[in-house]
Amino acid sequence: MRGIGRKVWAIPGGHIPMGSAEPEPEFTSRDELCLLNTNEQLAHLEITIYYSSTDPVGPYKLTVQPRRVRHVRLNDLIDPQAMPLDTPYASVIESDVPIVVQFYRLDSRRAENAILGTMAYPVDE
């Protein structure tokens, strides 16, 4: 299959919830990227995180294997810096091949606001 998607994606509404329900890691509150690479080659990604009152941080470098999906918890990223929880942020994902990016949030503190999922914004170049 040809590579579908875009090379640049943006997600403005990041906010990793602070608290979590047990047991973890299944119910760890989190922001998560669902990354689809339908290409025949490895996708190299660079993520930049934007904040409301401090300079952007990045790049967080990831790869997605050819013709695979990869789910990445943003909570777990530590290189170059751990992202603060309970802090508004936005992410821009740049890839060297077209990919598809979906955003997923689990807030396990209360059932009423447990899950949110949305497509990231695909940027036309």
Partner: protein
């Protein structure tokens, strides 16, 4: 004058000058001049420590030009190396002559002498800190004399093994080693409950065992290293995620591109699991918002170096980390009381807040160490204000009189 910066960037200072003597004789001359002029000399390795052991506004000495192996005896499992060699370079040089160090820490970028002098360790219930492989060598004392030390000078050897660079500047190290060997490294993911339920057997049945705990997910990664064919078998409660075999000098340590600051304490091994659980609880309750770095839990065999973290006791170590560039002070200060409550002794090269009055009760041979230091450096050439405070050594009238005005 140029600024000196340690590996993580959290320690910066500007010494009056940085010297790189290319021979032991040049170092002797340097120390003698410094002693005559009442100056302070601090020796620095690769700058991997983040406590201010090397910080000085006077003379900083690097032994980076003292490279190479002086001699080896493969049959006797010994080699003598010069003090500027890194663990990585020494590992490759030793491998060529069929030898290897008994253990390594998490990284191998440090100079051998720096790792030894700060009590750096790896993991393994039967494996003491790296300092114990030092069985002899030569050092330049604070009076500028070259002194040989060995198992025939046990007092000096036990002080030199974890010396913080205040007993003398070691120029040559005779190391007790092992025949070159390979290890099978495996890494497994599981959860805290399974890790702790099996902790004793994991420690007892593997040559090297440690685990990482991840504060943002509460997951655990187990790491085991064993000679091929001596692995205890698969772990039904964990998922294997890494599996390869290589020479020990190439596989025990890992390359770490990412930089961090670290605090580590050694506690009695029987208190290790409870200590870990309390640290975990506090990190989840108070610090998870800003701390994503994992905690590392290791074990160290006892030894008899006067200032060793594992002096006289089976030890478990708990270390916490923070990304360079993110604040660590509040986090480390919030965790340190738990580590101290468990009779913890700090890693000398990592962050801690203890001073002589806190440290003296933790080390049964504290006074013996200070006596050796007084003999080898009576004028305190190797001491700085931080080290005097750390060790509880007041400035002597002799040193005060010898010091240049303003120092």
């Amino acid at each position: 004058m140029r600024e000196w910066v340690n590996w993580s960037g959290s320690l910066r200072f500007t010494p009056e000058r940085i010297e790189t003597p290319d021979s032991e004789q040049a170092l002797v001359a340097l120390v003698q001049r410094a002693a005559e002029q009442g100056r302070a000399v601090r020796v620095v390795g690769k700058g991997h420590s983040s406590s201010p052991l090397v910080q000085t506004d006077d003379i900083l000495v690097s032994l980076e030009k003292l490279q190479g192996m002086e001699s080896h005896d493969t049959a006797a499992h010994e080699a003598t190396i010069r003090a500027g060699m890194t663990l990585q370079d020494a590992g490759e040089a030793l491998l060529k002559v069929g030898l290897a160090v008994p253990n390594l820490g998490d990284v191998n970028v440090q100079q051998v002498v720096g790792a030894i002098s700060t009590g750096t360790h790896g993991t393994g219930r039967e494996l003491p800190c790296l300092s114990t492989m030092l069985v002899g060598g030569r050092m330049v004392t604070g009076t500028g004399e070259v002194v040989e030390f060995s198992e025939q000078t046990p007092d000096l050897l036990r002080a030199a093994r974890v010396s913080l660079g205040v007993v003398g500047i070691v120029t040559s190290l005779r190391l007790r080693l092992l025949p070159a060997y390979q290890l099978h490294r495996q890494e497994w993911c599981t959860d805290v409950r399974h890790c702790l339920d099996h902790l004793d057997e994991l420690i007892n049945r593997n040559r090297n065992f440690d685990f990482y705990w991840y504060p943002r997910s509460d997951e655990v990664k187990l790491r085991t290293l064993n000679p091929s064919g001596e692995e205890p078998g698969d772990l039904s409660y964990a998922t294997l995620v890494e599996d390869h075999t290589d020479w020990a000098s190439r596989i025990i340590s890992k390359v770490r591109e990412i930089k961090f600051d670290e605090m580590e304490y050694g506690v009695p091994e029987e208190a290790g699991a409870e200590c870990f659980l309390q640290v975990r609880r506090r990190m989840k309750d108070k610090y998870r918002q800003y701390v994503g770095w994992r905690l590392l839990y290791r074990t160290v065999a006892p030894d008899d170096a006067y200032l060793s973290m594992a002096y006289g006791r089976e030890t478990a170590t708990v270390s916490v980390h923070q990304n360079v560039g993110l604040p660590y002070g509040d986090f480390f200060r919030g965790i340190e009381p738990i580590l101290r409550d468990h009779e913890g002794r700090p890693h000398w090269g990592k962050k801690h807040t203890l001073r002589a009055e806190d440290l003296r009760p933790l080390y049964p041979r504290w006074e013996q160490f200070l006596q050796v230091r007084q003999r080898t450096d009576p004028q305190g050439v190797f001491l700085t204000p931080y080290l005097r405070e750390l060790l509880g050594v007041p400035i002597s009238e002799q040193a005060r009189a010898a010091a240049p005005a303003g120092r």
